[in-house]
């Protein structure tokens, strides 16, 4: 049986899965429930999609972060977003009534399929969302090959 090769399946690799498992351990009880006992690691939600132009777009919610607090690296086909969100100013002296936001450091990694051109990564940060655009490598685009039949 042949299965269609899904480029994006490669994006959700072991590494990222491990991140989530570890993150999930600390984050347990956070999703859907109100956890009074304080939360663990911050795991910003991410959307990944492929546009009609076959460009891969990664969008991460990093609300409250300053642009210079975000670190984006591509190494060995692995894209890593790291950052640190410090606690609010004056929060140390404040009396908290509700604390649902998570502060501290985060790291998320995604393995890029070899169809994208890692040297042409573009990133912008607006209104708390980091958008990373990865264009498709020129040679990875579908081509029409004409075969001459002789005889």
């Amino acid at each position: 049986m042949s299965t269609q090769w899904d480029v994006m399946r490669e994006l959700s690799t072991m590494q990222d899965r491990m991140n989530r498992i570890w993150g999930g351990l600390y984050d347990r009880g956070h999703a859907g429930h109100e956890d009074v006992s304080g939360h663990g690691a911050w795991l910003p939600p991410v959307d990944i999609y492929e546009t009609a132009e076959k460009e891969i777009v990664i969008k991460a919610e990093l609300a409250g972060l300053k642009r210079d607090a975000i670190d984006l690296t591509v190494e060995n086909n692995t894209l890593t977003i790291r950052g640190q969100r410090p606690a609010e100013e004056g929060a140390a002296d404040a009396q908290f009534h509700r604390s649902e936001r998570v502060f501290g450091a985060f790291s998320r990694s995604f393995t890029l399929p070899n169809t994208v051109d890692a040297s042409k990564v573009k990133a912008e940060y607006r209104e708390g969302v980091l958008t990373v655009r990865l264009p498709r490598r020129e040679e990875a685009r579908p081509r029409q090959i004409t075969v001459d039949v002789q005889g």
């Binding site: 492929e50 009609a52 969008k59 409250g64 908290f96 509700r98 604390s99 708390g128």
Partner: protein, 141 residues
Amino acid sequence: MTLVRWNPSRELASMEIDRLNRMFEEFAGTGRAWTPAVDVYETTDREYVIKAELPEMKREDINVTFENHVLTLTGERRTDFAADNGTYHRSERFYGKFSRSFTLPPTVDGNSINASYKDGVLTVRIPQREETKPRQIAVGE
């Protein structure tokens, strides 16, 4: 009857309206509703601060209302047009409508509420009325 000391924070903690809203939403089968993370705290200047994480929203899509000491944040985040025409491979973010309400103590000044939106975070500052602040009263002769 025992006298119970009035604690404004208890009122904040009893923000059950919010919880009920969410329960109803879940019951209505709208799936997992978007519940933006919120911090509520009182500064040393006795000002209430509500911070809600609402990344990638348009200012005009966020509504802040105050009625009967209940502050309500509502809004809607639309999906990305480009994503709608593409293929999703990972979808962890929420889209659609949200609503969160917080009951504030009667000491707050509803006329001086200030809201700002920066880096995807909505900050609402609610000062307390001047006359409810602690005062030092000099003792005369």
